[in-house]
């Protein structure tokens, strides 16, 4: 699915042309919403942000090398998820509850004690866990305005659009069956006239 190797899947978007001397501005804007790792002591389960195309741990962008010689701005969306699976949580909570009951010579913990125990176990497990790391390639053709997101996931696309628009203060338009016609030179009146066409029925007996 990634740009660099293997088979390719991506979603298409379109954005207005960048302003004059955009390199410095865009480098700053990307850096401002760079990826920041989850603090395992917090309760945050998911974070996202921008990283360099070839370094998942670098969120600073150099205006001088921001755009490739072929005219692309390449970067990555990093999404980290730190969530303890329900099954894992249950196993550790059950074990700790059993230990406490045994130590206190009790049959079971109260509801309140159990809730408190869950919080403690979750904190401990988060400190011992690594987040799931997801990297999504982005290729922005500065000249044509086409932005490609190398993912087919709707959830990733939604997170991407939100962060992109916040970062660059611009609207990102998804390319679909109609907008691709504009992009390839058809005028608005022509595209609008398509809505007047009735769907064809090819299975009818020919005249």
């Amino acid at each position: 699915m990634a740009l660099a190797s293997g088979s390719v899947s991506y979603l298409r978007f379109f954005v207005a042309p960048p302003p004059e001397g955009f390199e410095r501005l865009y480098a700053e804007q990307l850096g401002a919403l760079r990826f920041v790792e989850i603090d395992p002591r917090s309760e945050v389960e998911k974070v996202n942000g921008w990283v360099q195309f070839d370094d998942a741990f670098a969120g600073d962008f150099d205006p001088g090398t921001l755009v490739t010689p072929s005219g692309y701005l390449l970067f990555r969306l990093r999404i980290d998820t730190l969530k303890i699976p329900a099954g894992t949580m249950k196993a550790y909570v059950d074990q700790e509850a059993m230990n406490r009951c045994k130590a206190q010579n009790r049959e079971k913990l109260s509801r309140k004690e159990l809730d408190q125990l869950k919080l403690e176990v979750k904190k401990q497990l988060r400190l011992r866990s690594l987040p799931k790391l997801q990297l999504v390639d982005i290729a922005w053709n500065i000249q044509s305005g086409e932005v490609r997101l190398f993912s087919a996931s709707k959830a990733v696309a939604a997170a991407f659009v939100e962060l992109f628009e916040k970062t660059f203060q611009t609207n990102l338009q998804a390319v679909g069956l109609r907008s691709v016609l504009w992009l390839r030179g058809m005028n608005e009146a022509e595209v609008d006239s398509l809505s007047l066409l009735e769907p064809e029925r090819f299975h009818l007996i020919p005249r």
């Binding site: 390719v8 899947s9 298409r12 490739t68 072929s70 029925r201």
Partner: protein, 160 residues
């Protein structure tokens, strides 16, 4: 319009010696690979999926066409001169998925990434040009009417 486009591609691929003409790339060879899904339109969609080496030749696919279904998803094999592409297309969006790019030896100073971006540009342009070509044909009743009749004959089983 996406399902009509993919169905037309199938028809053109059979009628036009396996190719579709494009303004930039000339004749592009089109074939259907591995898996073909057909659906009826409207709110209650009925579908058929054919999995075979040459699904467009399968009787099951022809039968689906004759019952009013159109191509909803296809794996296309595209032959643009020296370069061959494979891509999954969904008629709902024509989003490019599972695309296999040709392996090329580009100029020595070109990075692999640049080369892959160039190939993606080309694949996208080929598909867009074929789609825009179809839409323009579809909007021109004078040119479209004989194609419609030919497609109906093709669907009815009298061949391309």
């Amino acid at each position: 319009m996406g399902r009509e486009f993919l169905t037309w591609l199938w028809f053109e691929a059979e009628r036009n010696e396996g190719g579709v003409d494009t303004p930039t790339f000339g004749r592009v060879g089109v074939d259907f690979g591995q898996r073909l899904s057909l659906e009826t339109g409207g709110n209650t969609k009925e579908g058929s999926t054919v999995q075979a080496d040459a699904p467009s030749q399968a009787e099951e696919a022809r039968t689906a066409l004759r019952t009013g279904k159109k191509v909803a998803k296809a794996r296309l094999l595209l032959d643009a001169g020296e370069r061959q592409y494979q891509v999954n297309l969904d008629a709902e969006s024509l989003t490019i998925a599972g695309a296999k790019l040709p392996t090329m030896l580009g100029p020595k100073d070109a990075s692999l990434l640049d080369e892959r971006l160039r190939l993606i540009d080309e694949l996208e342009a080929i598909l867009d040009e074929m789609y825009v070509g179809f839409v323009r044909l579809r909007m021109d009743e004078g040119r479209w009417a004989p194609v419609r009749e030919a497609m109906r004959e093709w669907v009815a089983g009298s061949g391309a």
